[in-house]
């Protein structure tokens, strides 16, 4: 089931936790 993750808000939907990790790293490293 981990390949079908949903996030709220919906515009941040990711497919899995590695993708979320990548987004977090890109976002918060840059800020």
């Amino acid at each position: 089931m981990v390949a079908a993750l949903k996030t709220v808000p919906a515009d941040l939907q990711v497919d899995d936790l590695p993708e979320l990790a990548q987004l977090l790293a890109e976002t918060f490293t840059a800020t």
Partner: protein, 182 residues
């Protein structure tokens, strides 16, 4: 809301931070055998729901007491089987990043505390805040549990990122519900 404005992350447990799919499937397989239910009937129903809710849908003719007994049996099967619960792929990496960036996080699950604590321990995940079914009156999709987690983390729920694998849980994080606002 941009990801950069997120101040905390609320994770579902089963199917999100913890891969317990095999254990859950074994428990339901045994249960459906015992209750003479079609073996895979639970698959499209159980995710994100309490055992009693799923039992009620699978066995609509059962009375209240019989549902309670059947649900207790299902939970007992899950409590007995932690053999291969593990952190989901990427879970520990995500949590490591949250610590690195100073973002608080919590686990918000519809499981009971005993099962949640056991599965999280088996997965090597130690949440600063754990919200279980005993902590709330209204379960997902009502956002009471997400709101409680945000309050315990000291953040506004509107600024939390909610990570789920099930529709009821995702709905529980959705802001438009009137009880979401303080």
């Amino acid at each position: 809301m941009e990801l950069a404005r997120v101040v905390a992350v609320l994770f579902d447990m089963d199917g999100t931070l913890v891969d317990s799919d095999a254990a859950v499937a074994r428990a339901w397989r045994t249960w459906t055998d015992e209750y003479a239910v079609e073996p895979l009937a639970w698959v499209s129903i159980a995710n994100g729901r309490l055992a009693a809710d799923t039992v009620r849908r699978l066995q609509p003719d059962l009375g209240v007491e019989a549902v309670a007994v059947a649900a207790a049996r299902q939970l007992s099967l899950q409590h007995q089987d932690l053999s291969d619960a593990a952190a989901a792929p990427g879970a520990l990496a995500v949590l490591s990043l949250l610590y690195r960036f100073g973002l608080p996080w919590a686990v918000v699950t519809s499981a009971d505390h005993r099962l949640a604590a056991a599965r999280l321990d088996a997965a090597g995940v130690s949440p600063p805040i754990l919200i279980t079914e005993e902590d709330v009156t209204n379960r997902k999709p009502v956002p009471e549990s997400s709101r409680l987690a945000a309050r315990r983390l000291g953040v506004e729920p509107e600024h939390c990122l909610v990570v789920e694998d099930a529709e009821p849980g995702a709905a529980a994080g959705a802001p438009p519900a009137p009880w979401w606002r303080h």
